[in-house]
Symmetry: C2
Subunit: 389 residues, 2 copies
């Protein structure tokens, strides 16, 4: 269920609420990635205390380890991991298709080998709905085939068409015999469809139309952040978002940087997830009000000020840049904790600012002001993207 | 400064208070090891919230990285790491002597190479007092030569005699020209002497007498927990403790297991440190009211109860054994956090129980009851000891 509260008068930015069985999520929202049932380096309390009310889980990873049966015995993923907010699970499609040599795709689904122990598994559209249902997800994602970048038009079209057929099968299975969508939603969470079509706008139009007519509780734009140029991604978003149902939440999968999020919000996107803040934190990079800072840089060796002077959270109240750098160089876990916490605090603050700005109908001003002080001072060859970690 | 509050009527157990420039520490006390300026996997807040009021730092490690000069600029180690309790630093002796091929010992001190970058450093008795003073330690340890186990009587005696001469030099340097001990203590923390002598009780007697006459604020028993049999360690403690000044705190370095601590408290020891709870936590072992539990064990795979049902802390309130096992097997940082936190909570509770029991003059009963329920069910070849981590 989605409640659209207000829209910008200057652009397509929207302020809404995603209503789930585990509470209300204020949108636009960034969802921290908790691949294996934990947001890496964080405790669930810390994620909650930063204001996050929804996190991601990865169906592929949780299916392989610990397996949905144990999670079911524990009373669902929320109870298993001790998280009282909402949980969105992906369909596993992205991970399975990333396996390349270890998988075989047929119309029926995907046969693949576990990256952990080589054991054989099969994901079908119906099967991944069942797994997500067993996990107890609040938002389930339809099984999709994500074409790699670059792919030609023919390949991308074929993958998109299969994604549509799979989306139909997921929808039918999720609705169950004779049950309406609302009932399915209340007992088993909300199913989101996924628009594919690569960087081909004609395919994106067709896919948006197809997925929209399924009348699912939400729609995602998939197949972005897979290596395409940033401009192509934004073009896809700007083109596709207006084609999606106005009264349903729009989720841009795997995106992104603060700049990407600001751009996509302007186009009317409501939900985001990305491994960047957590992964960069663990590799020594902090998002700050002055751009990204690489804590390994020698200039922080005797910098006794906080990593981000504008951060008022635990990470920056209690630890100087020099101390965090020392911890990082000495391979101490606390370094990863502080940096991850800080980056998530940065994203939480960004999203709160975005929501407040839309409410005050000054989103474009907010965006301008944010980007003005946020200068990307150090990039250090960071690889972006990747849907799980 | 030490304030002896009460002693057991049945044994030598003592209940006291160590008064430092950073607050009062209730004894008997266990001090978590924060080798490089962090108790591994913990935040300073977490350590504090578990009730700890004193932690260890390692002079060797902090001298090499980040260096005492940066720490001085930060306003001392307490401010650098954000810890408002007390800090005890070792002298670096144990680490330097562990370097074996990388060090050369003369009467003047120890020349050694850094294990990090091979750079050359020299530790003298006066120098390590200066480093600890620069770090801002509340309790400084005298530079000592810790004979390895086994060592013959002649070697052990020679190392002990050098330790005595070094203790004298440390004491003179710490007191400063014309300054009394109390003044030195207030400006630069309390210096503790270290009794050596290996497993030879005649040497321990001589060393206890020598170190006692230095009239330092505290006395440590060093050179235990270096590989000798547990019985030999306890024999040394039982023999040495009564020879130490009654009005000064007694610190048993690098000890130990819950059983060791209970035995040593009975002999009149006030202070302990050991890497066991933190190191075992990071390698998957939890101390529980029913003995040690190896979370890797298959029997925890579907155990949805807490690791220790008698633990009421965050670690066991919010996480089942099966979840922690899943996190551990999936290489998630949260596993190390939960297990370390739990083990320190276990030690904190043990020490609080010991203190309360001595106050109620029922320490031997407490010891019996604790050991009755605490059965070492799994040991799994864990290596004990090691003064830093």
């Amino acid at each position: 269920m989605f409640h659209l509260k207000t829209t910008s008068s200057e652009c397509a930015a929207r302020r809404g609420q995603l209503l789930t069985r585990h509470g209300t999520v204020e949108t636009p929202v960034f969802m921290p990635v908790g691949t294996q049932g934990t947001v890496k380096a964080m405790s669930q309390e810390e994620v909650w205390n930063l204001g996050f009310r929804i996190i991601l889980g990865n169906t592929y990873h949780l299916h392989l380890r610990p397996g949905e049966e144990l999670v079911r015995q524990a009373g669902g993923l929320h109870r298993f991991i001790g998280w009282s907010g909402a949980i969105l699970t992906d369909s596993g499609g992205f991970q399975v298709f990333s396996l390349e040599d270890l998988r075989k795709i047929t119309e029926d689904g995907a046969l693949f080998r576990s990256h952990i122990d080589g054991s054989e598994h099969f994901f079908s559209p119906e099967g991944v709905v069942d797994i997500q249902r067993t996990l107890g997800s609040d938002v389930l994602m339809a099984f999709d085939e994500c074409a790699p970048y670059p792919s030609d038009h023919t390949y991308t079209e074929r993958a998109m068409e299969r994604t549509h057929r799979w989306a139909q099968r997921c929808t039918r299975h999720w609705r169950g015999p004779g049950a309406g969508g609302r009932e399915a939603e209340e007992t088993t969470g909300q199913l989101f469809g996924i628009v594919q079509g690569g960087t081909y706008l004609d395919l994106r139009s067709r896919s948006a139309a197809f997925v929209s007519q399924l009348e699912l509780p939400g729609v995602a734009i998939g197949g972005v952040s897979v290596g395409e140029p940033k401009e192509a991604m934004l073009e896809v978003v700007a083109h596709t978002a207006p084609l999606l149902p106005r009264d349903r939440p729009r989720y841009l999968m795997g995106v992104g940087t603060p700049e990407d999020i600001l751009d996509a919000v302007r186009e009317g996107i409501d939900m985001f997830d990305c491994v960047l803040p957590t992964r960069l934190g663990r590799t020594g990079t902090a998002y700050t009000s002055r751009g990204r800072a690489n804590i390994k840089n020698a200039k922080y060796a005797d910098d006794l000020t906080p990593i981000d002077p504008e951060c008022s959270e635990w990470c920056c109240r209690s630890h100087s840049a020099a101390y965090v750098r020392h911890l990082y160089k000495a391979d101490e876990i606390l370094a990863l904790r502080v940096l991850t916490y800080h980056n998530l605090a940065f994203y939480a603050k960004l999203m709160a600012g975005i929501r407040e700005a839309i409410e005050g109908d000054r989103f474009l001003d907010f965006r301008r002001e944010f980007l003005g002080s946020y200068r990307t001072t150090q990039r250090d060859g960071v690889t972006e993207g990747g849907a799980s970690e």
